[in-house]
Symmetry: C2
Subunit: 744 residues, 2 copies
């Protein structure tokens, strides 16, 4: 077991390496050549045209201004300085709410850590159980933990009290934060300019009729049932084929550009390519001519497909975007049930046009219901039994396995070097590959579930990923053994025994989780800020591909907050902090460092780097709140189990009452705030409508909304370039402020 000195040493090493990374970042970001990697957001905003530098040629690539190097650390205070209101306008509410998760962690754990070190650590340290013991499984970390308190001691009362303090403080902070985010969301919605989605409702499961087209039916239905407010509607086409063609056309165009550039640089030789797979096999032809011809073919095909879409009624999906004369009308329609058959004419508030997930709009209700069932079962199996196929692959990837399947490879793998690789590397590789593609698998599963917006997809994926991490990382580390073995254990153990089994092993795993926090959490931060992959990719593209300024723009990969994979990881640290705050408070400083660094760095990233793909207005906050509360409840249950093995069974009813209070708090929060994230209140809609009418009485809303919800493939515009969104004038404030932050 790692002793306190070991952990201090590890923390020291980790901190130094992070600081090295940060220094490297501080150096790299000052080089004009990296400007587009570390400040793409500003290029996309249009406030920065080209990297600034001294006039010399070298100055275009390397920063020669010595003064700026002396102020290398200034990015940190700069990142923290931008006021939140401005940040919301600059990066959107989603991003701001996202970094508030880290802030939430700090708010919860800093006071708890202070209290725990002031009260609990002395109580544990003087507990004296481990004093006489020469047991090697205990180290001085355990002296700081509850393990050092004798069973049945009155000192355990301090731990129960601490659990109460932790619960009440966490709930208080969560409540304030939920209130805060709700207020921000409402302000954000209120302050936004006119946006198409405010007037629009997504209608699904439109019944097919033989007499009318979908379009006519929608028009009739809404003219009758919303006579005062209905304005227009846009039907949805089945654009799967067209989208594929557009994608293929883009790929071909890319190749054509590449070969044209090659030819331009080296005019002596026309580039050649092969017509077969990956350009490696088949007949050799002139590349430029070949791709031009292909491009023409596909353009014709695309035109034909568009034509077909417009003419063939079978290509029209039973879904539509219906727009209303006022926000009030849209809000009413989105919140009400239209017909007596509740699976027909389903209405929901539309998301932003760029957030719409077009492929899922057509799924009928029953199919959707079956799909969700299948995905629920799949998630269960994926979470608990994923180790089985991986173990199978690992057994194949062993020396014996390879010899069996590919006997002809036997002489090769008999070689010492290759044998070492196979034995040491391959088995782990299967697991690594699985973990890397896991988010993609989960995302596909969420897609099959049939959500209609990208933001909803991300939220559902996050929920699945959280379950996976909870079972396989948290419980997996504590109980040791694959998830299905845990499951087997749980099913064959009394419900009152399970928290005991886990509770007992929790203090022993404290050092493991401290190390995990450093290796996974701290290292993640460093990787985040230095953006190694985008840095390399950008420079490669810049060197080999970029020709014009526009190309350079496209070579930038700003990325975005990947909510689906990062939020569940943050939740793991909330869980660890809450569980160990009473048991082994030593872990808290490590978690606080994680939250503090993450907050600063992500604040920097959303200001300078990330370009969000959609804006949902912090719609994910109810999930965040629920998961932190889940962590809190788990911590109470596990403490209950641990204390009941410590001959402090009297604590069980006390902690049970706490658990019930927490569940109640969860329900209360849900009732108090959640609807603000789902519904659009009529009063707010009415206010904005009234203001709008006063300011622009003659606004042509029809023209404004007519083309707002059209599949990007039909517009011929790429999905990643949403139509320009009306933004208010405050934007200029951001751009002016920005200048003072440039390295100069």
């Amino acid at each position: 077991m790692a002793s306190l000195t070991d952990i201090t040493a590890a923390a020291y090493i980790n901190l130094v390496s992070i600081l090295t990374f940060l220094l490297a970042f501080a150096f790299l970001r000052l080089q004009p050549i990296n400007d587009r990697v570390y400040f793409p957001k500003w290029y996309l905003k249009g406030t920065r045209g080209s990297p600034k530098g001294s006039g010399v040629l070298v100055g275009k690539f390397v920063n020669l201004d010595v003064k700026t190097y002396l102020k290398f650390w200034t990015w940190m205070p700069e990142a923290l300085r931008m006021p939140e209101m401005e940040l919301i306008q600059h990066a959107g509410l989603d991003s701001v709410a996202y970094i508030r998760i880290y802030l939430l962690g700090l708010k919860i754990f800093v006071p708890i850590a202070a209290l725990a070190f002031a009260v609990l650590v002395p109580v544990n340290w003087t507990g004296g159980t481990l004093d006489g013991m020469k047991d090697l499984t205990y180290s001085d970390v355990d002296r700081l933990s509850i393990s050092n308190v004798p069973a049945g001691s009155i000192r355990l009362l301090a731990h129960v009290l601490m659990a109460y303090v932790v619960t009440f403080w966490t709930c208080y902070v969560l409540y304030r934060e939920y209130e805060n985010v709700t207020k921000k969301r409402l302000q954000f919605i209120a302050s936004e300019g006119r946006r198409p989605e405010q007037f629009t409702v997504l209608v699904r499961n439109i019944p097919r009729s033989f007499d009318e087209s979908v379009s006519e039916e929608v028009e009739h239905f809404f003219r009758v049932n919303h006579p005062e407010t209905y304005l227009l509607h846009q039907i949805v086409y089945d654009t799967k084929n067209l989208a594929k063609l557009v994608e293929e056309k883009k790929r071909l165009k890319n190749w054509l550009t590449y070969y044209e550039m090659r030819f331009e640089r080296n005019q002596k030789k026309r580039p050649k390519t092969k017509t077969g797979l990956w350009g490696l096999f088949g007949k050799s032809v002139d590349a430029i001519d070949y791709y031009r011809a292909e491009l023409e073919d596909i353009s014709n095909e695309e035109a034909a497909e568009r034509d077909k879409l417009m003419r063939d009624p079978k290509c029209i999906v039973p879904a539509a975007f219906v727009s209303f004369r006022s926000r009030w009308g849209a809000s009413v329609c989105a919140q009400t049930q239209q017909t007596s058959n509740p699976i027909r004419w389903l209405t929901e508030w539309s998301t932003e046009p760029r957030d719409v997930f077009w492929d899922n709009l057509a799924i009928p209700y029953i199919k959707l219901s079956v799909r969700r069932l299948i995905m629920a079962v799949s998630t269960f199996f994926l979470t608990f039994f994923f180790m089985i196929p991986i173990a199978f692959v690992q057994s194949l990837a062993s020396i014996d396995g390879i010899q069996k399947v590919f006997p002809f490879l036997t002489p090769l793998i008999k070689m010492e070097a290759i044998k070492a690789i196979v034995q040491g590397f391959l088995p782990g590789l299967a697991l690594k590959i699985f973990m890397a593609i896991l988010p993609t698998i989960l995302n596909s599963m969420s897609r099959i579930e049939g959500h209609t917006s990208c933001s909803a997809l991300d939220r559902r994926t996050a929920a699945k990923y959280y379950l996976f991490i909870l079972v396989n990382v948290f419980f997996g580390s504590i109980i040791t053994g694959a998830a299905f073995q845990q499951l087997h254990k749980f099913l064959n153990q009394a419900p009152s025994e399970i928290p005991k089994t886990i509770g007992v092993s929790i203090p022993m795993k404290a050092t493991f989780f401290i190390t995990y926090t450093m290796v996974d959490g701290w290292a993640g931060i460093a990787a985040e800020i230095i953006r190694l992959v985008p840095l390399i990719v950008f420079h490669l593209k810049n060197t080999f591909l970029v020709k014009t300024e526009e190309d350079r723009q496209q070579a930038m990969d700003p990325g975005c907050v990947n909510f689906a994979t990062t939020e569940p990881r943050i939740q793991l640290y909330f869980l660890l902090g809450l569980v160990y705050s009473v048991i082994t408070p030593l872990i808290l400083p490590f978690i606080i460092v994680f939250f503090a660094f993450s907050y600063t760095i992500h604040r920097h990233q959303i200001i300078n780097v990330y370009n969000q793909k959609y804006e949902s207005g912090a719609k994910f906050w109810p999930d965040v709140n629920r998961r932190v509360l889940t962590g809190l409840m788990l911590s109470q249950i596990l403490l209950m189990g641990l204390l009941s093995t410590k001959k402090a069974a009297i604590s069980t009813p006390l902690l049970l009452a706490l658990l019930i209070a927490t569940i109640w708090f969860h329900k209360f929060c849900k009732g108090r705030f959640e609807s603000a994230f789902v519904k659009f209140p009529l009063q707010e809609a009415m206010k904005k409508d009234t203001v709008d009418r006063a300011i622009e009485p003659n606004m042509n809303l029809r023209a404004y909304l007519e083309d707002a919800f059209i599949h990007p493939a039909l517009k011929g515009i790429d999905m990643k370039n949403p139509p320009p969104i009306a933004e208010d004038d405050n934007n200029s404030v951001v751009s002016t402020k920005r200048k003072s932050r440039r390295p100069s």
Copy 2:
């Protein structure tokens, strides 16, 4: 253990006694003197003024027409003959949906019983495990059950298959029935005439303002946010005091009438009463003068209280009934969120005026939330730990207990006769009293939960009662031992062991449940039809109190379908039928007899007797559906446990898949139908509005709605006499038909 012959004998005895009851009923109902006990519904409808009979004086009390006695059995086909549409108009949808629960039982269990006796019984009978056994704990009932099939036998496949058939058939019938009831509900709502609740929304949690009164605030808010549709509103007064005064006044009036009547009959002596407790202690005074004076006092008090209500703004509750110009407007307001604070201005579709539970309208959101928490915890304790106080009372009610607490009674209880009573009667009495007042306790708990309508109260009470019956009757009988002992067992046993423990004892309890069905279920039917208590009470009142025709009207106690206590009992038989259909199909005929008799008799009762207190439009059906499905899931889990002890572990995944499919079916049903019971679709509202406007373009809706939602105490009208509700002309059809059914 009871053998097959024993059970047959018991069934014979029970059937004979039921038939005796039915004969007694057939005789009693023909007597004109009992007419108001067995046909009160027709008196309340106004289609029957006085009992018909031959002209002779005796004929007024006893039926002398011999012919009618020969056709004594005709009430049964008569009860079944009325078509359902007419029945809905006659008795309301609530009652009709209620008797459809019995019909649902028949639809589910008749085919299952046929199949089980055709397939499962032969399979069990020839199983042969119990052939050689001379074990006294087994009887020939067990030969028909799964106990007779050897462990690990291939025959068990038949049981698994049967479980599949039962599940699919039950789900199919439930789906069809849900669809049917939904359709009926929508038709019912569509066919109803104009009713105030269609135009009205209940608004709660109106924020207090210092500048405006509640009334002004409501008017402003809805004029702004529903400008096109808002019509008027009615504020709610805190009428608790007034209602008490009205109640007291009624009591005093009753006494006055009683004494006036006594004086009238015996004019020689003016009646006396005493002023103290219950008229037993204190000064003796002239009764008529005394009550007249008291009545005057209370009338003055009442007038003062009414005056205060109208003037004091503190007596106005932050809730209001808001009425709209159209059903569409009300439907929109009820379904939408009004403000950004989701716990302010809560709107819900109003219930009928007579269904409103006035006392709960004022409870603020947070208080409501706390109350529900407390009631949830209380329900848990009541369900699992109710035996503890009862055991305590029982120990007090023993000989030793009485000697300890009341030593002076020692000589008395030493007497043999009294000793026998104390020992044999008192301990059981405590439990009996508790079971009798349990529905009242549960109802008070639901009241504290703060529901705003009587129908919701009944539904919530039924849910609590179902839990109680499930735990204490079903599981209590199987596991034997008080509920908290079961709970202790469950907590200390592996989750996979619990179904096994229960599963094993289920076949052994079959005879017990067969007896239970006869004693509780069959006997309940007989008690229902003969209406012994109302019969006696009516004749007592009729003899001693009734003076005028109006008095006689009031002496009738038609009663109503008591959903809160009867539905959970029906659910117990669904549960028994589903659990035993695969294990011991012998129980099914007994359950079918229960459902068949109950259906006929309740159909008779809702036609001739019951007078419903409110009409919720079968709003309870989602609960019924959910509970039957709960029973189905329990049956699958228990079968899983039983089969896994029969060395047929291979069946577990098969049954697990079935369980998941059932859960999915539940969710699907919920999504498919439930909203029809909660929301009022806009299309339906619009249709009715349009028809209304076409028929009566000049309808003065304001006058119609103005006083619709006023507390009965404020109107000076008794709560049980709701304002007359507009009914359509079809009513006359019922009244004309009725004549043919009279004994003549």
